[in-house]
Amino acid sequence: MLPNPTATQGTNGFHHNPVDGMEVVFQRPEALRNVPTHYCPGCTHGTIHRLVAEVIDELGIRTRTIGVAPVGCAVFAYQYFNLDGCEAAHGRAPAMATGLKRVLPGHVIFTYQGDGDLASIGGNEILHAAARGEAITVVFVNNGVFGMTGGQMAPTTLLGQFTSSSPSGRRAELHGFPMHIAEMLAPLPGVAYAARCSMHAPAEIRRTKKALHLAFAAQLRGLGLSIVEILSTCPTNWRLSPNDALTYIRESVLPVYPTGDFKIAEGLRELV
């Protein structure tokens, strides 16, 4: 491919190279940097990053969006998004996002958190951000384990699931029951949008993008807290191949964690 004198360079370091007479119909979103990620083969973090970036581009909010990264596999998320970012302490992203949103009400603030980060140590912070109706958007990636630290049991681990800190399998009488964050937060009046989606099939990925769009729209319309819980794979810690990991979501996770919209504020209905 010869260099095209009319080619343009996006701000994300990606060289857009339209050939004469052809229209660019698919390219890296402006909000996503052109760098390799560190995620495992078969992990769906990369795709989720892309969906978030596409929604940010489509809403035209990149230059006034701030992402708050978690402690977890996505701890480097701020290196992958082409926008202002900061690193929160484990579980504290909703509180950090609250501080940011309260002093920068015209900005779009999102947190990107795993299930250990949000549902375990961060339980109180997400609960109160939701109760206060903070107009932030929470991207909640649920893979049923603490991924970064090697696959320990998380609040979202399934009953019977073997993990490195429940080597005999999760048992209700010892470890309690898996926690359903989207359903738990939905009834709170401060929550404008709460949904669970999945990454295990193309149709589900498209639904996830739609949900993310609604979530960011809820923030832009000042309706309250929006949270999209996304069932995600962890082939490494599940000890499954990438394909088997997708099957595992469909056959084992979905029956326990159904997808759906659990709360849609009135002000969002026309977008659904």
């Binding site: 230059t63 006034r64 701030i66 708050v68 990264a69 701890v75 480097f76 701020y78 290196q79 998004f81 082409n82 926008l83 202002d84 970012g85 900061c86 690193e87 929160a88 302490a89 504290r92 509180a95 950090m96 996002a97 609250t98 501080g99 940011l100 309260r102 002093v103 920068l104 900005h107 109180n124 912070e125 609960l127 109160h128």
Partner: protein, 366 residues
């Protein structure tokens, strides 16, 4: 030159506001709750940000967020709440964003009680969180001094991209005194060049305390240490009171520093030459100045409301130049001037005694 009667906690709050505080995130805890309540009333009046967080953990992380946006953000708490904030303070220090924190110390450990104490000294000066750093710690002994120190805290915090802790105790927070309040500083017109969410167009900025590569984190820590050395050279504060000809040099801070002044006057009236060295910056500790003053004394008596925490810094500074003794009360008990005078008198009858500590009232009754 109008002086008004103010409650300590409220005066601290108003001084912070006049210093340009833009955001306050806090949580109720005795004996500083009046500061939170005052902010709840005043900040919205001025169109600034106030939020009571779900916990001290929430509060310090909200401060962290607002600080990353380059805003003048602060919180206040007391000893058990400061313990909860340590994680957030470490992140704030590692990310090198500025903030101001008020610690109105109370009796500990654990739930302790709500009476005045100085037993957070180690906690707040050694680092106030994991890792190698020291916040700037300022210890006022009067409400006027608290107002004056609070008034420069944000400037200090932003100058060094650092944490400034104004450390008082329950006495300071709860008492009332006449104070003169400073004028309102204008809010900053621009955000710092490192701030995220800067409305001026900029290439994406990232604020983090994570440096996975050991060499990079060492680099960061070397830079932090260099910054601390700069602060040490420039920001020590202290007061020497009747110290030039003192045989016994009292060393005390905060409320005890104030009580010690009464003890100095009482002792001198009875013919004993006692002086006071009162650190105002607990970090950086005024070691050099103390060393110079202590050289002239025959004995040093450290007085604190704890089991001997600043004592370590005094010993390090004074070295072998004079014997260092300690008198402390704990649990929220406030020492009286006559107890201090008794210890100072007792001290002159003991020839050489390093490392001896008196932890309870030793003056015989009557």
């Amino acid at each position: 030159m109008t002086r008004e009667l103010w409650n300590g906690n409220e005066a601290l709050a108003e001084a912070a506001i006049r210093a340009g505080a833009e955001a306050f995130f806090g949580y109720p805890i005795t004996p500083q709750t009046e500061l939170l309540e005052y902010m709840a009333r005043r900040m919205p009046e001025l169109g600034r940000t106030f939020l009571q967080a779900e916990s001290e953990i929430g509060a310090i992380n909200m401060v962290y967020g607002a600080a990353c946006a380059g805003m003048r953000a602060m919180s206040s708490s007391s000893s058990p709440g400061i313990s909860l904030m340590q994680e957030g303070l470490s992140y704030i220090a590692g990310t090198e964003v500025p903030c101001v924190l008020v610690d109105i110390m109370r009796g500990g450990p654990g739930l302790g009680n709500i009476q005045p104490s100085q037993s957070d000294y180690f906690q707040i000066t050694r680092s106030a969180g994991h890792g190698d750093f020291h916040p700037i710690v300022l210890a006022p002994s009067t409400i006027q001094e608290a107002v004056n120190l609070m008034y420069v805290s944000f400037d200090l915090a932003f100058q060094y991209r650092h944490i400034v802790i104004v450390a008082g105790d329950g006495t300071l927070g709860q008492m009332m005194e006449p104070v003169e309040l400073p004028p309102f500083q204008p809010l900053p017109a621009e955000r710092p060049s490192w701030a995220i969410g800067d409305p001026a167009p900029h290439a994406p900025r990232i604020l983090t305390s994570l440096y996975l590569a050991a060499e990079k984190l060492e680099e960061t820590n070397l830079r932090l240490q260099k910054k601390l050395a700069t602060i040490q050279a420039a920001e020590t504060r202290y007061e020497a009171y009747e110290a030039e000809d003192a045989d016994v040099l009292l060393v005390a801070f905060g409320t005890v520093g104030r009580i010690a002044k009464s003890a100095v006057r009482m002792a001198r009236a009875s013919g004993l030459k006692v002086g006071l060295f009162r650190p105002i910056s607990l970090w950086p500790f005024p070691s050099q100045a103390l060393r110079a003053v202590a050289k002239r004394s025959r004995a040093v008596l450290v007085v604190e409301m704890n089991a001997g925490q600043m004592l370590d810094d005094v010993r390090l500074a004074v070295g072998e130049r004079a014997p260092v003794r300690f008198f402390g009360r704990m649990g929220g008990v406030v020492p009286l001037p006559d107890e201090i005078v008794y210890e100072a008198q007792h001290l002159t009858r003991v020839t050489r005694s390093h490392s001896s500590r008196v932890l309870a009232r030793s003056r015989p009754p009557g």
